[in-house]
């Protein structure tokens, strides 16, 4: 399969160009924008739902974007095993679309959190994490969100743990997961999860903002390289 990222542009997306820039200019991958009113995924092998404030976050984050025409194509693509990654608002859209379980509520601080955080990788046997080196105790990647407080009931949390669906947890620089390093109140410090089949991933932190070395952090590359290697090999 050839590698091509399709970055969906919703009204209010604001990390679409960051994603495009990092994938094309930094990592040299094929990438194309996909307009939310279209239904054609343009032969993309990976769909990326970017961060932002789609539809102004009206009603609930991601609630309206979930019904954009392109989302029907994305949902059927995902259900056929296609690779989908949702970042920040993209993660919220995947939750609203039912492609990932759980909900996102307001940060427990009620503040918009915009800073670098550390992420412990809990499962390196996924499409999205296979290239994250064992030496990497924690990925340094920024967050920028007001509603990133991941909530699921006890049964779902158990299920996520049993199926190893928890991909990233907020931690300190050494990978220790604790309350002190939980920026938003997420249960079990959850920062990113995959679906049961392992082809859909959502994360609140922004790996596309941690690719270009001139920005001082490149850990996000490991996530995109994992996806690329999975497709190319």
């Amino acid at each position: 399969m050839s590698l091509k990222f399709g970055v969906v542009v919703f009204p209010g997306s604001n990390c679409d160009h960051d994603a495009y820039y990092s994938l094309r200019k930094v990592l040299n991958y094929d990438v194309e924008f996909l307009w939310h009113k279209d239904t054609d995924l343009k032969q993309s092998s990976v769909i990326l739902l970017p961060g932002g404030f789609s539809y102004g976050d009206y009603l609930r984050t991601g609630a309206i974007a979930r019904f954009s025409p392109i989302m029907n194509s994305v949902i059927s693509f995902a259900n056929k095993g296609g690779i989908v990654i949702g970042i920040c608002n993209g993660f919220q859209i995947l939750l609203e679309a039912g492609l990932l379980p759980g909900v996102m509520i307001r940060n427990n601080s009620l503040k918009f959190a915009c800073k670098d955080v550390y992420l412990k990788t809990e499962n390196r046997e996924t499409i999205f994490s296979a290239e994250i080196s064992e030496e990497t105790k924690a990925l340094k990647i920024p967050i920028a969100h007001g509603e990133g407080n991941y909530f699921a009931d006890i049964e779902l949390l158990k299920e996520l743990e049993t199926n190893r669906q928890i991909l990233f947890r907020y931690s300190d620089a050494d990978g220790n997961v604790n309350d002190e390093n939980n920026p938003n109140g997420s249960q079990l410090n959850i920062a990113g999860i995959v679906n049961k089949n392992g082809n859909v991933m959502g994360m609140m932190p922004h790996p596309e903002r941690a690719c270009d070395p001139t920005l001082g952090r490149t850990d996000g590359q490991q996530i995109f390289k994992s996806i690329a290697n999975y497709i190319l090999n």
Binding site: A63, R106, L110
Partner: protein, 83 residues
């Protein structure tokens, strides 16, 4: 035509950080006996059909598919005939 009033409430099992913060504000104001503040949504709109059953069906669909997220919210509504 019916006027619909929808009330969307966060399920009791779901945390409401906003409600907690607002309640702290009440304490700062000296309003000291408030407990269990929960913040929901009230949504109003008209349904342009003649039949009440048809209006109920449409409002139910609107509420369950878009206005509320069934994982964390419950909804209730009332319909009032207008015109």
């Amino acid at each position: 035509m019916f006027k619909a009033t929808v009330l969307i409430k966060r399920r009791p099992s779901i945390l409401d950080p906003q409600g907690v913060a607002v309640e702290k504000g009440a304490k700062h104001l000296g309003i000291s006996n408030i407990k269990g503040t929960r913040i929901g949504k009230l949504i109003e709109f008209d349904v342009d059909v003649k039949d009440r059953a048809a209006a109920e069906k449409e409002v139910n669909e609107y509420c369950s598919k878009l206005l509320s997220n069934p994982i964390m919210e419950d909804f209730e509504f009332k319909l009032e005939e207008i015109k």
